[in-house]
């Protein structure tokens, strides 16, 4: 029982069985082939799911539910801090500035609201420090997107050592906030609840089950969608812009982190590349695995299309959001807002560093016994040859090859294929 609760908490996505009609859309979109349709309902394989949210995007019946922190969970903290992803700044048109949004978020019931863009710029400098001294293998890969980290652990275990051992800005910001608030306002650290306002549900996974530290510095995540209406109504009601004094100097470099290419644009002369979208990320990681990108020093990978502004829990259309971000970058400029000496000092103290490296977590092999696994691999090829290759999904597996794999693993029966039943498979 206990374990069941634990595995359920591990993922940030669940299927609403009442709404799911058992179509094959999510199953055929899933990049790790984690979904099967059983008894006319989609079922997610907990082991294979990497929380990318592709199923959430494609489901026409809203049957894929993201799991984020509820406002009831928030009440248990005496001192509440909102740490919005800078993606939030892109959601309310091009004339609403970050400070107005931050002020409104605070009014939703937080004791403090903090601008993460500044910490994004701090992290850019820390990444530069790391790359400057890196003599190891290349390319180093950004650690920002929690789904990329999981994708590498699962599908590309040998690339774990390439994940840059620098925590993402949200974690560093939360760490900094907790110690700061505790000492300045005399609040016990445990009474402080630091809540990320997130464009994706995957952050919940990195908060509940962090890979590079014992305990996340964040206490939860609220989705942008969940507070969007409240913010919009308050912005509309406000007669004149309501501005917070603190953080009036927003970092243009930091805001850039929300769109693909923004993270590397903030870095100096390094050979770098950026990619977004789960399928393109898989493709580029395949190239990294073959040793093709050795001349690139830093690789930014973001699972959502066009970067975090394309997150499934955002409201604004991502193309408009991107324009808003680009406009803000122009407004705030490329001027450095952080003190490089300060970053260097923190970097040397390992303030930005992982507590532990990312460990490989490959999928379970076809069989624990090597010889049996090899036999099953042979079997998959033989079964695949017989199947029609139409990838119709009626058997409940996303494609014929995966169905063959399920049969070899003993999870499905050849007779589940309607073509095999009628004896119409390839002879």
């Amino acid at each position: 029982m206990g374990q069941k609760i634990k595995t359920r908490r591990f993922h940030s996505i669940k299927i609403d069985k009442k709404r799911c009609i058992g179509c094959v859309r999510c199953m055929q979109h899933c990049p790790t082939r984690a979904i099967r349709v059983r008894n006319h309902k989609a079922v997610i394989n907990e082991e294979r799911c990497i929380d990318c949210g592709e199923c959430l995007r494609v489901c026409p019946y809203n049957a894929v539910i993201p799991i984020t922190t509820s406002s009831a969970d928030l009440d248990k903290f005496k001192f509440k801090v909102a740490l919005p992803s800078p993606v939030l700044y892109s959601q309310f048109g091009q004339y609403v500035m970050p400070n107005e949004i931050l002020a409104v978020v605070k009014d939703l019931g937080f004791d403090l609201v903090y601008d993460e863009a500044w910490m994004c710029e701090m992290t850019s400098r820390a990444i530069e420090e790391y790359l400057d001294e890196n003599k190891g293998p290349k390319p180093m890969i950004s650690s920002t997107c929690p789904v990329v980290v999981r994708l590498i652990q699962r599908l590309f275990p040998s690339l774990c050592e390439l994940i840059i051992p620098i925590e993402p800005p949200r974690e560093i910001a939360a760490k900094h906030l907790r110690s700061d608030i505790a000492s300045e306002r005399n609040v016990a650290e445990d009474d402080i609840g630091i809540i990320h306002i997130t464009p994706c549900a995957a952050k919940m996974v990195s908060i509940n089950n962090p890979e590079t530290m014992k305990k996340s510095n964040l206490d939860g995540a609220l989705s942008i969608k969940a507070i969007y209406n409240d913010i919009m109504l308050r912005l509309k009601k406000a007669k004149k812009p309501h501005i917070l004094d603190a953080h009036s100097q927003i970092s243009g470099i930091g805001i850039g982190w929300t769109i693909e290419g923004g993270e590397i644009r903030g870095l100096k002369y390094f050979h770098s590349a950026s990619v977004s979208g789960v399928y393109d990320t898989i493709k580029i990681l395949e190239d990294v695995e073959a040793g093709k990108l050795r001349n690139i020093e830093y690789l930014e990978c973001l699972i959502c299309p066009d970067g975090c502004i394309g997150g499934p829990l955002t409201v604004e259309n991502r193309f408009v959001a991107k324009r808003n971000v680009l406009r803000m970058i122009r407004t705030f400029g490329g001027k450095k807002r952080v003190d490089s000496h300060f970053v260097k000092k923190l970097y040397d103290e390992k303030y930005f560093s992982f507590e532990a490296g990312v460990k490989p977590k490959p999928f379970a092999p076809l069989d624990k016994d090597r010889e049996a696994a090899i036999e099953k691999a042979e079997m998959i090829e033989k079964i695949s040859e017989k199947l029609p290759g139409t990838d119709c999904g009626i058997c409940g597996a996303p494609d014929c090859r995966t169905f063959a794999e399920d049969v070899a693993r003993g999870d499905a029966q050849l007779s589940n294929c309607i073509f095999m039943k009628k004896g119409k498979g390839k002879k």
Binding site: N295, I374, E378
Partner: protein, 147 residues
């Protein structure tokens, strides 16, 4: 003596086909992952298979990549029909390449292919008949030791 259990597959490689180059090595990697081969071995096979595949694409007319996986090791055998290699010793030198300017401009042909294959495999054998063919054999031990 025949191996009791062995997975065998053959992939065709087309010379000059830069568009699909690398596909075979991706398929091989996916099979190795399914079987549950250790990450560090997969990485070495990935690099060697990709370099060997690219050599066929860059220099030969066509080729075949044979994969044999058994409980003890992974064997990759790449045989091509092509110009062959005149001086194998020279070809094995890091940085030596006969690639054309065009191929180099695409980022290939840096003269690291064969040395990289050798470095990443536990056993490496190369034979060539000038004007006819080249045959590479790479063996990767699965017990984790390098001989």
């Amino acid at each position: 003596m025949r191996d009791k259990t062995a997975f065998k597959q053959v992939f065709k490689i087309k010379g000059g086909d830069f568009i699909n180059a690398g596909e075979s090595s991706i398929k091989i990697r996916n099979i190795l992952k399914e079987i549950g081969i250790e990450a560090n071995i997969i990485r070495r096979v990935a690099i060697a298979a990709y370099e060997a595949e690219m050599n066929v694409v860059m220099y030969a007319e066509r080729g075949l990549m044979n994969v044999i996986i058994n409980a003890k090791n992974i064997i990759l055998r790449v045989e091509d029909k092509g110009p062959g290699i005149e001086d194998i010793e020279l070809a094995m030198k890091p940085g030596y390449s006969t690639a054309t300017e065009e191929v180099r401009e695409m980022g290939f042909g840096a003269g690291m292919g064969l040395p990289n294959i050798k470095k990443n495999s536990d056993h490496f054998d190369i034979r060539s008949v000038v004007g006819k063919s080249t045959r590479l054999e790479m063996v990767f031990n699965l017990n984790g030791t390098k001989d």
